[in-house]
Symmetry: C2
Subunit: 211 residues, 2 copies
Amino acid sequence: MKISELSDRSGLPVQTIKYYIREGLLPKGTATAATRAEYDGRHLDRLRLIKALREVGDLPIASVQQIVAAVDDDDIPLHRLLGKAQYALGPGTEPHPGDPDWRAAREDVDAIIAELGWRVLPNAPTRDLLAQAFVALRRLGLPIVLTDLRPYIEAAELIADHEVGALSVDEDREKAVQTAVATNVLYERVLLALRRMAQENASAVRFDDEA
Amino acid sequence: MKISELSDRSGLPVQTIKYYIREGLLPKGTATAATRAEYDGRHLDRLRLIKALREVGDLPIASVQQIVAAVDDDDIPLHRLLGKAQYALGPGTEPHPGDPDWRAAREDVDAIIAELGWRVLPNAPTRDLLAQAFVALRRLGLPIVLTDLRPYIEAAELIADHEVGALSVDEDREKAVQTAVATNVLYERVLLALRRMAQENASAVRFDDEA
């Protein structure tokens, strides 16, 4: 197909597609004349992946480049590839190893993960993300107690088992990453909305005698 | 106490405290001289609430004013007060009633809540938040199927029952709102981090033969 059709089908302007080619995110088309090139379904799939990473994952071009390179590198197993995509997603956190509160929180996080026996890499950004929330709660006078975490841990396991179980093993790598990023970001919003609705309902049931 | 002590104990600069007084968020102290006023524990509690709303909830002054007014209005029952605080929290969404995709998604949301029998007000912003995520998923070729939602609904109920159950009935209104906002925002981050960790673990268990 021509670049104009690629643009129509991907929903991306021609200028954006050319920019992705210049940045090495998208392979060049097959030249059919001095100023013409032919594109195929692989280009469209790649554009859909880039679109998900950019628009849904809100990732900078540099992160997209790394993920796209990992998709193309068959030596990287699917589990590592999905991890790479997940690690690239925000929100970012900055570790504060000089701050004793932060260090204590990070030690709590590491102890909890060890206790759960979860296989989470030592450099996973989620460890810092959780530590950061622990610090903020403690500073508000609401320190975390392990029993308070129980329902969140149970809920996280319930959801993750469903999500990872739904991935097909022989899935195309490109499609698997696209789905994983979209699922991560958008089902996070689904979960956020449902949790707040469930709160409103539980509060109505418990406190609202009028209704 | 003097304003300087109020500043020390709340962790807020004197200028910020004066600004909150001018904006009507914080009652004036009791004048003890032409340029001196005395503050008490109620002022400190109010400042802690404002701080949670501003710094954790990231709310604009106008929303803080509304919530503070509701805290002071004993005719507003606790359930409504907590709802008001929750509705003020982001992320904001804009309904798109002119867009057929959005309308269909919003109808799906309303049908799901009705089916669950959840007591969620028709104007709850969470309905639009969920509809927005549905639209984005559909546009990526990942339309929502009700069975896919099941684990998220179950997880949301699990968490909300715990959270609402943990609120003490005879809690001070000021403190209840402060805790609810902090819990909403910060435990959302806790849940986000735990879900991603649980994903990494589930993916390692399923796909990673090396480890």
